[in-house]
């Protein structure tokens, strides 16, 4: 059993790491301070094929599979959670939904510009009254000749204001509920009637934009129905299920950065005449970080392997997100403590990482949802149905 990464992925990791250190890191502080999306980084990433890592080359992607995608998300997450979020939302759920459920024509038309990075993607699911209860969406899509007319408003949409393509869930038959009454659509954001409302003022990942997206009589061609008509809920769940693994990878990167930073600091910082790294209260914390990171790493890449080999992975991916986000939170919490007052200073990366990490337990399915998914998968073989 060979647990080593294929050589092309090793080389890919080195390239992404260099890219992250040289192109992403210098901007990390600024994009947080200025609350702006590093579009210049997105452009550079696109030029290197980093906006379509998991997708086949025939669709303009890199052909790296889920493994390559997790590697990239880990390396980006290690440097700048905001950048990882921008690229992650674009690739992992928006473009991914088209890849998983699109027709060949749709992939050619919509996936290719996304995978090549020519356009940015967003995933339009959440609404003010529909978060964890995703089925409670109210955006409607009414058939009118060869089009569907969309009306409604989505909130908390990452990349909402910079996306060229958005996959949107809308109610096509209110009487049928979640299964049968909801359809997924591919919406080109330059369609008349689409507009951006307010942008969220967030605690962290301030280098990504989180937008309210308003649909006022937006006419979408019927060819843009994504997946089966009425099965939109399934289409979106499929995408979210896979997206969890790479989100866990970004958390892995963040945890890794926290640990590396703690090690460097504690070796340099002296108190009571010795480096604080030699104090048991400190090195025990670092040892705990290392143990969790190692376990998370094995989990992430085994899940990526399951996905790439087309094996069942829903349970593992949910654990990636659940465990990954909590490991990252624990590690960065310890990192603030280890850095002492310095960990509280806005001039240093630690407090930014602390603010950035907090969202990972909330978005892309709260950790409570992950626990439901996990329990549901655990008990189903025994015939016990856990409702969501």
């Amino acid at each position: 059993m060979d647990f080593s990464f294929p050589k092309e992925h090793q080389l890919f990791r080195r390239m992404v790491r260099e890219f992250a250190e040289n192109e992403v890191k210098p901007l990390a502080k600024a994009v947080d301070r200025e609350h702006r999306v590093p579009l210049e980084t997105v452009k550079k990433a696109a030029a290197l094929g980093l906006m379509g890592v998991p997708f086949p080359q025939k669709y303009g992607g890199m052909g790296g599979g889920e493994m390559g995608y997790c590697i990239m998300m880990e390396e980006l997450g290690r440097i700048c959670t905001s950048t990882a979020t921008v690229i992650g939302a674009h690739t992992g759920i928006a473009a991914m939904s088209i890849y998983l459920d699109g027709t060949e024509e749709q992939k050619q038309k919509f996936l290719t510009p996304l995978a090549s990075g020519r356009l940015i993607g967003a995933f339009g699911l959440t609404e003010a009254q529909a978060g964890s209860d995703a089925a409670a969406i109210k955006t409607t899509a009414v058939r009118d000749g060869n089009h569907f007319v969309l009306n409604g408003a989505k909130v908390f949409i990452t990349n909402g204001d910079i996306a060229g393509i958005m996959t949107v869930m809308a109610v096509t038959d209110p009487s049928l509920g979640a299964y049968g009454g909801i359809t997924a659509f591919v919406v080109e954001t330059d369609t008349p009637g689409f507009s951006i409302g307010s942008l969220e003022n967030k605690m962290g990942i301030r280098g990504s934009s989180t937008a309210e997206c308003v649909f006022q009589d937006v006419r979408v061609p019927k060819e843009n129905v994504l997946g089966q008509f009425g099965a939109g809920f399934l289409t979106f769940m499929k995408s979210l299920d896979i997206g969890r693994a790479s989100l866990g990878a970004a958390c892995l990167g963040g945890a890794q950065a926290a640990m590396e930073g703690c090690m460097e600091w504690t070796m340099a910082r002296e108190q009571f005449g010795v480096p604080v790294a030699t104090k048991q209260s400190v090195y025990f914390m670092i040892a705990d970080m290392a143990a969790e990171i190692e376990a998370l790493r094995s989990l992430i890449y085994r899940t990526a392997w399951l996905i790439d080999t087309h094996q069942p992975h829903i349970k593992e991916a949910a654990i990636c997100k659940l465990y990954g986000s909590e490991v990252a939170s624990r590690c960065i919490h310890k990192a603030v403590q280890i850095h002492g007052a310095l960990g509280y200073s806005r001039d240093y990366w630690v407090e930014r990482a602390y603010r950035d990490a907090r969202i990972s337990e909330i978005f892309e399915g709260t950790n409570e949802i992950q626990r439901i998914v996990l329990a549901s998968n655990l008990f189903r073989p025994y015939g016990l149905r856990i409702p969501s």
Binding site: P6, K7, E8, L11, F12, M15, E18, F19, A47, L48, G49, L50, V53, Q57, G61, M62, G63, G64, G68
Partner: protein, 259 residues
């Protein structure tokens, strides 16, 4: 233009720690990388390819693991890659290496341009370019900082006499480039995948190159390693400004951090 790039895989210096006080070299992390000087050579070549089109062939003499460096060269933009590997090359010194590389260039039918780094990242001898040029009877320009192609020639600005000079060299020619003048690009992700999944590295051994024992006999003999003295810590420099400045500058010059 047909361009052959000479590349070398080296032990990553970032994984090597030298303890001057212990007079020992520790390899903390044994990892092999495409040397930065080779990357600069590739970058200079790829810029020529971007500007006017070229067929870029990466060539390296090394152990079988050097294949990874060649695949990275393909990922960066090379069109073909050749590895020269043989147990008989293990004891190769600089003249032998030059002979092997020159033989390979000849087996490839020669080139318009052969590009190498000015020196390698480990031993930094800086001889390969000129040696290969002599072996092939090509023109040569070394320590180049700016390189452009012209019909039948190249134009290069090279270090010369304390400054720089611009020369035009007739093709075929060998050029060595300065590492700092050609910061390497990133490899495109799809090319990285293809470098291992789609493209090939051809391996030749001593017999393929028609090299006999005489050509492979090293001329140089290793006679030992030594270490510079450890740097002082907290060494005070006192006195009047003029004398203190003089003392400091002398010490810095002795340490070779300033010229």
């Amino acid at each position: 233009m047909k361009i052959i790039v000479l590349i070398k895989q080296i032990l990553d210096p970032a994984g090597i720690l030298v303890r001057r006080d212990k007079e020992k070299m520790f390899i903390n992390r044994e990892e092999y990388i495409l040397g930065p000087d080779s990357k600069a050579a590739l970058e200079a070549t790829l810029r020529l390819k971007d500007a006017g089109g070229a067929e870029v062939i990466a060539l390296s003499m090394g152990r079988p693991r050097a294949e990874d460096a060649l695949r990275e060269a393909l990922a960066l933009g090379g069109d073909a890659a050749y590895l020269l590997s043989d147990e008989a090359f293990d004891a190769a010194d600089i003249p032998v290496t030059a002979n092997v590389l020159a033989a390979a260039v000849q087996k490839l039918g020669g080139a318009d341009l052969v590009v190498a780094g000015r020196e390698s990242g480990d031993t930094s001898a800086g001889q390969i370019g000129s040696r290969v040029a002599e072996a092939l009877n090509y023109a040569q320009v070394t320590d180049v900082h700016v390189l452009t192609g012209e019909p039948g020639a190249i134009r290069a600005t090279r270090r010369w006499g304390g400054g720089y000079a611009t020369v035009q060299a007739m093709l075929p020619a060998v050029v060595t480039v300065a590492r700092e003048a050609f910061p390497a690009r990133y490899a495109h992700g799809a090319r990285i995948m293809n470098a291992y999944r789609e493209w090939q590295v051809t391996t030749w051994n001593a017999a393929d190159l028609g090299l006999d024992e005489a050509a492979l006999k090293p001329l140089l003999a290793f006679r030992g390693e030594s270490f510079p003295p450890p740097l002082p810590v907290g060494e005070q420099v006192k006195g009047a400004p003029a004398s203190a400045a003089h003392e400091l500058i002398t010490a810095l010059k002795l340490q070779k951090v300033i010229g």
